[in-house]
Symmetry: D2
Subunit: 342 residues, 4 copies
């Protein structure tokens, strides 16, 4: 029986959510986000970010969220700046370009974007023969397991404002980022420094669902038209509402992320102690140790994971992802199985 | 306490689905349609249509399904023919045009499309200064509660083939259509006469989910790229698989539709007996009685429904929708409340 | 030798334009609209409309102009209202839908749009499940040869403003409209009542070129980005500048249109005198007489024209188009050839 | 009086074209590419490439051509591979992305694409979570003045075929490329190794116009619908026909390119002799010498050119472009003005 470390959406949904789905199942509700549960979830999220002015909408998945947010923000000739490893750059089948917008991609070793990166794009764009960069896309946690510190996000925010750029944060793994042991940022602070962001449910205990939080007033108008036109207005929206209420009414969301992080930390510390290197310094729920090929082959018989990157002829980095559902005994077993080789 | 006849997605999900979600919750699965439950659901659906060659994919909602199917089928300059009351024509916020395609709309009193309708569109399109009609869109059941008889669908199918047109059937309410007392068509027959269609879960007992069945080989290639690019590839696809297995492993899907139809029939027969007219002759789960304004006002205090169309100064048609979850006592109460006026 | 009444772009270009092209040919100029001739043309046009605040751009053709203007004005979920006979509705191969926008088409017998037409579209659109009508498209002259009187355009303008709609006038044949004997509108007045419009050169003596005049400040920003992105920023823009200077520096534009109208009027009066009917009452450069089939057959051996519409089994309306280049002897010959039948 | 080396579209049009426009001006012609001159031009071009099977269409400009060709070739999820310096990558205001397609950009020092570049993109794209690379875009001459040798183009062609990729050549400056002193490729050979390409008129003596030559049968169907929908079907298409007939009936096109190249060569040799470096080794009509800032400042008072790239604190590369209309005395003067500094 193979144990799966491939993803953080490998198991179903936190059991408490299933219980509430059952309990409320025969209630009659309006659809498309107008139900009582969505309203309660919106209230809770506004409370969490301490901003009762934010517009909040729920959507099924991350690619859909990114495409809708970005295309709702940009005019046809405007572009979005992202790292080359950004989810929108490589892992969304061209959804952003399909929506009509160029992504100005910049290289970044640790998956994070800096003011300098952004400035280099601005410098290269001068007139109407080129696109007009307008939106900055960052993910927190990033696709390589790193996250933004308070001062880094603040600097980006100030820089973007000074340049007339908008800042969008992809929070598919925001739980893991904010629960990292080295994190010094709160959800409320984060929300003040971006124009729009989303809180990912799918990768932190929900069966599906991402919450879009629009902070900047200029981006709010008629957002539901965008949602409907892109096929994102779910008929039985109660499913979103119920899940986000359960996740946020008593901070279950953060406890789940803490568990995922703790499991990843146990893995990474043990692997590090054995002398292995990593391709990025991650304290979130994705880690990328570098192993010899024959160790990878052996592990792959008992565990599911992706080979992320060839490092040299005999070594590759693999990606190990933990989640709210990861069992500690699986971590222990994996560590033991690596040790055998040691 | 208002009882809601507004929609067939007012309650949650058939309880058996919740049970199976719970039972399978901690199983580890691949995502994006590669899980065991989706595979089982695909097997069951292929069996139902007696075609093991069909490609089957699952998507969250109807608008998304229509946009993806239609844009995957058409070249940029090709158009889709639909009735003006077709869901894609009016109730999808321009999703088809947003995907780049004109809808050639034709008037239809009963919501059904005929060969003559299609021919009139072909006659009006001659050269490259106009769009090129390529796809025919029908819904079954239609938006006005009618459905296609066997000979009608066969005629459309033969006509389309003879004209080089493709035929797509929107089955958001296909359960109700196929379980109508006057229906003479099976799911397997229907599937032979279209190039692609979808079976709607959301409006017949699922919490979300529509199954796209691609019959025509030419439309199958790389369909998953379309799904991903449009943000429709759900991470925890097991949710789709589990639901469609439950709905089709013992024909629960049809039993639920039969219940919805029975409830609508009881309503419409009783209302008809009292001498009221309807704007369409429906034997599916949507009925459209014409009431006086003051009766409508009175009913609206106790029941949720949409006023569909003004008929004259003092009369309007309302829409009453029943579902798998509609309670017979609510029907009885409604009939009594209409009678009071009588 | 067949004489062609098919179109108003059958001959080349007014000879004076060729002369100026030759005279200025070896001048060195910046491209993309930054040349001296474009600047002079813009100055002249601003003078004509008595508005030095208008933004003016030049584009190669009408379909391109319509697609760019409309998509620059609308947000993704917004739609444009037009008659079914509007050029954008039927004769642009779906260019507007390709740009992502639904056209709300309304029937109109004379090709003109009324406030009532517009209100009927507004009434039918209530929420985010439908598109949001935002722009009103009219052509002047219309596709059936009619044109807007002063009070009609003023009424549309006031109505649109009161409803938060924008008004766009397609002036592919604006010369002919403003030079109709019954016209009571000036170019300057017209420009005050619309948000944006274009003056068509191609159909009134230019070899190619339409001038877009943006009146409403909100529609001006970054318009050149739209032009470039849609491939409409011509490298040797001097061609546009030179032509519009020649056409407007001494009102040649209007004299050409007057000639076209005079030729059409001579045709229509003579035909009318012989007792023939027309499908529309036109005093512009397109007329639509109804002839018997055998007369049409006979005429088609000596003249080029389109059969526009079948009227009954034995009669059809044909379209005859005159232009700046139409020769009076061809008109006389045509009349004689019709008379033979008489 | 500043002499302009900014572009190859600074002057008007070759005088012989103006003569023919005048001579044929009052001929009556069908529009939209159906005129006699277009037909003759198509015949001549087919003869030149020795392929009477090629489909040929005329379009106003290069950005429009690239957007139409690329979007007509690709399915929504397919991408195009280009160098970062490719015209479509940076200088078309995102027109390709606006048409829905990602450009997979690869770095290239000399502006040329290699099989290795392409393979690196293929290696990075594995499944439906990413776009599917399908088309290879090259420009000849490139944006940095280099061009493809016979064996290089042949290698690309064979490689593309072996990988199921299509090859598209942007010939905005194809005249200059094929007339370079080091060129060993004929137009006919080139046409055999690509699936589709275009011959640029605008930058080699025409007032506007690019000829699209579709070689691969699979790309031909309904191409005129694409042209119309994108606003590229010009009413008075005779302008295209007349120009391409003049340019190709006696190889004027190549003589004009030879002149442009000769002027550039004289410039580059003289500058090289003075010991200056260039950022690319160009034998076409664009050269990029590296000058000190104060020399650049001085030259800019007498000549128009773009500063292309900062090389270090005190040096920049400038771009000098010659054309069919460049006067040898201007070249001589420029050389003298550089020498002063020497």
């Amino acid at each position: 029986m193979v144990y799966n470390f491939k993803n953080d959406y490998t198991e179903g949904v936190h059991p408490r959510i299933l219980e509430t789905l059952k309990k409320t199942n025969m209630e009659q509700h309006e659809g498309y986000g107008e139900d009582r549960h969505c309203k309660e979830a919106i209230y809770l999220l506004r409370q969490k970010i301490n901003n009762f002015n934010a517009d909040i909408h729920f959507v099924s998945g991350g690619t859909q969220t990114n495409a809708i947010v970005i295309s709702s923000v940009l005019k046809p000739y405007e572009s979005v700046i992202s790292t080359t490893s950004g989810h929108i750059s490589t892992h969304e089948a061209g959804a952003i370009e399909h929506a009509g917008h160029k992504i100005n991609e910049v290289e970044s070793l640790d998956g994070k974007l800096t003011c300098k990166n952004i400035q280099s794009v601005l410098d290269a764009h001068s007139d109407e023969h080129m696109v007009k960069p307008k939106l900055v896309y960052i993910s927190n946690a990033t696709e390589t397991g790193t996250f933004y510190k308070k001062n880094e996000l603040e600097a980006l925010s100030i820089f973007c404002k000074s340049k007339g750029l908008l800042l969008y944060l992809d929070g598919a793994r925001i739980g893991s980022a904010l629960c990292s042991q080295d994190n010094d940022l709160t959800l409320a602070q984060l929300s003040q420094w971006v124009d729009v962001f989303y809180i990912g449910g799918t990768k932190n205990g929900a069966m599906l669902g991402e919450a879009i939080l629009i902070i900047n007033d200029n981006l709010k108008e008629n957002f539901r038209f965008h949602l409907k036109q892109k096929g994102a207005l779910l008929a039985k929206s109660r499913i979103f509402g119920i899940q986000f209420v359960e996740l946020f009414k008593d901070d279950l969301f953060f406890r789940l992320a803490e568990h995922a992080n703790a499991m990843a930390l146990k893995l990474s510390r043990s692997i590090e102690k054995m002398g292995y290197q990593f391709i990025s310094k991650s304290t979130t729920n994705q880690i990328f140790p570098i192993f010899k090929q024959n160790l990878i082959n052996r592990l792959s018989k008992k565990y599911g994971f992706y080979v992320w990157k060839n490092v040299d002829d005999q070594h590759s980095a693999i990606r190990l992802v933990t989640s709210w559902a990861t069992k500690e005994e699986a971590i222990d077993r994996f560590i033991t199985d690596v040790k055998v080789d040691f």
